[in-house]
Amino acid sequence: MAATIAKVRIAAAHEGDAELIVTVAYDGGGSSEVPLDRHASDALLRSCEASGLEELIGQSWQQVRDALSVSYNRYR
């Protein structure tokens, strides 16, 4: 499994905040859009040592998974 981030954009979330939509592209040609809130986005930038969105392109899907976990578990 070598799915990687192919595209990143900023979008409006249902709750009136901005969110990051990360497109993950798979080996087989498919793709998924994953929305990240501010906390997950921060975690993704940090773990990828990225200072801008462009630097996220090509990063592994596992970074996205872990960033989501950071946000999800932040009050545990």
Binding site: R9, I10, A11, A12, A13, H14, E15, G16, D17, A18, E19, L20, S32, E33, V34, P35, R38, S41, D42, L45, S51, G52, L53, Y72, R74, Y75
Partner: protein, 557 residues
Amino acid sequence: MFDLIVKNGRLVDGSGLPAYAADIAVSDGRIQKIGKLDEPARQTVDAQGKVVAPGFIDPHTHFDAQLLWDGACKPAVEHGVTTIVPGNCSLSLAPLKAEHRNKLVGMFNQIEEMPQKAFDEGVVWDWESFPEYVERIKRDLTINVAPLVGHSMLRLWVMGDAAMQRSATPEELTRLQALLRECLEAGAVGMSTSYVDMDETLQPVPCRHADANELDALAAVLGEYGRILQIVHEFYDGDVSVARVDELANLSLKHGIPTTLSPVLVNADGTVVVDKIMARIREHVATGARVWPQVQTRPIDVSFSFEVPSLLFIRMPTWYGIMRHGTHDDIVRAFSDAQRRPELVKEAASLNAMWEQLVLRQVQTSSNQELVGMKLVDIAEQRNTGIVDTMIDLSLEEDLQAHFLFADMGHSDGQKVGELLADPLVHIGASDSGAHIMSFATFGDTGYLISKFVRDEAAMSLESAVKKITYDVANIWGLPERGLLQEGYVADITIFDPDTIDRGPEYYVQDVPGAGSRYVRDAVGVDTVIIGGEIAYEQETGYTASKRGQVLPGATP
């Protein structure tokens, strides 16, 4: 002699058929006669030049708490809404044991932004069961209420803390079914559940620990009564949303129930997702399933202050770094530094198109109050400085509590949203009224439907738009004798000016118990609202003392 006659209006009767000129006579809360009427009445409303329509029905609200201190759910009625459905997204205020009150308040605070103090000062907890809750809210109703019972509340009642940990045992499942029956017998119009919402500790709400077997068993009970199942699906994920449509279609066919999912949104490049969902719904509807996607009319606005690092700044590494890593004092220091200012302004220049659209939304000082509602570009001109400098200056003057608004950032493709709203398989709803009270105003979606998608976009006729928010809602939700202007039907009537009806500007008001605040919008062009045969609101004089609202039980086929 009739109680009330509405004269000289143009009737858009909710059926979708062409408008026609007629008078309406009302007595005993019901429409008695429609036609050219010369009989006397105790009260006459002159609707010359206005449209007379059935009262609007809002199927997705969170007025649960507000209903306990405001039986009109202001400002819903003045927007022409005569019936609301609270209890969406798995959360209702009953059934609720005393020991779970704090848990419920926490969930409402997390999900709907209803503050703890509002419950402390606005709510007398004098009910536990659903029948007791229905009796409680009946005491003081201006608006009609068709309440859902929340799946999370059923689980908390039966399973206690285990509701937040695991699926139900067979014995618990039987008790959940019995409890749901009790709620439906007492007037619940259906049941709501969620695959998305989190509680106050950011853990899944109780209903998210249910397995498919549990939902199937509860849907079977809904099937005994022909009542509706509402879900919040993973709306941010297209593929999972399609899977939820499949799940709802299966439950609908198996148990003979209507189902609805909300919200379905159109984003900048998300139309493919919407198209996928609608294609799957068309397939299921063709087999007899009843799956109604709820689409909201209003676009999504994004707001921010310098205090919390919005992702809108993520393309500006210096700015985002300051906001992301800095304390309040660090942020103030960085933006106050005259030597750093040129660098910051230069970095922001790449997004000038966005700054030009920004509106100053909220401030805390009286000196800047008059600027609220103005575009930043106009404030900059007034101050004879640049837009970015103005944004920074205002933030510093307000100790970082200046809030800015980027309007229409999502769900804003007028043509695509209009096509979707006009689709006969789409249910107009998802207003979320009564929720997110400190983030944005959820009122006036019905006026916006007519101003934007009838007048501006011409996406549908006025008759179709009115049908979508009256008869269609009554039909989907099983609300008998509502949603049509028809002799014998309950006299819930909204009279409005078709040329001006709209939502007014958003503003902040302190009217929540416990000195709480919320965003609201006034109505534009709504002349008179009649509920249960009595005038509940008039544009010129405001709300009356009328209390003709009812709790509407769903119809059982």
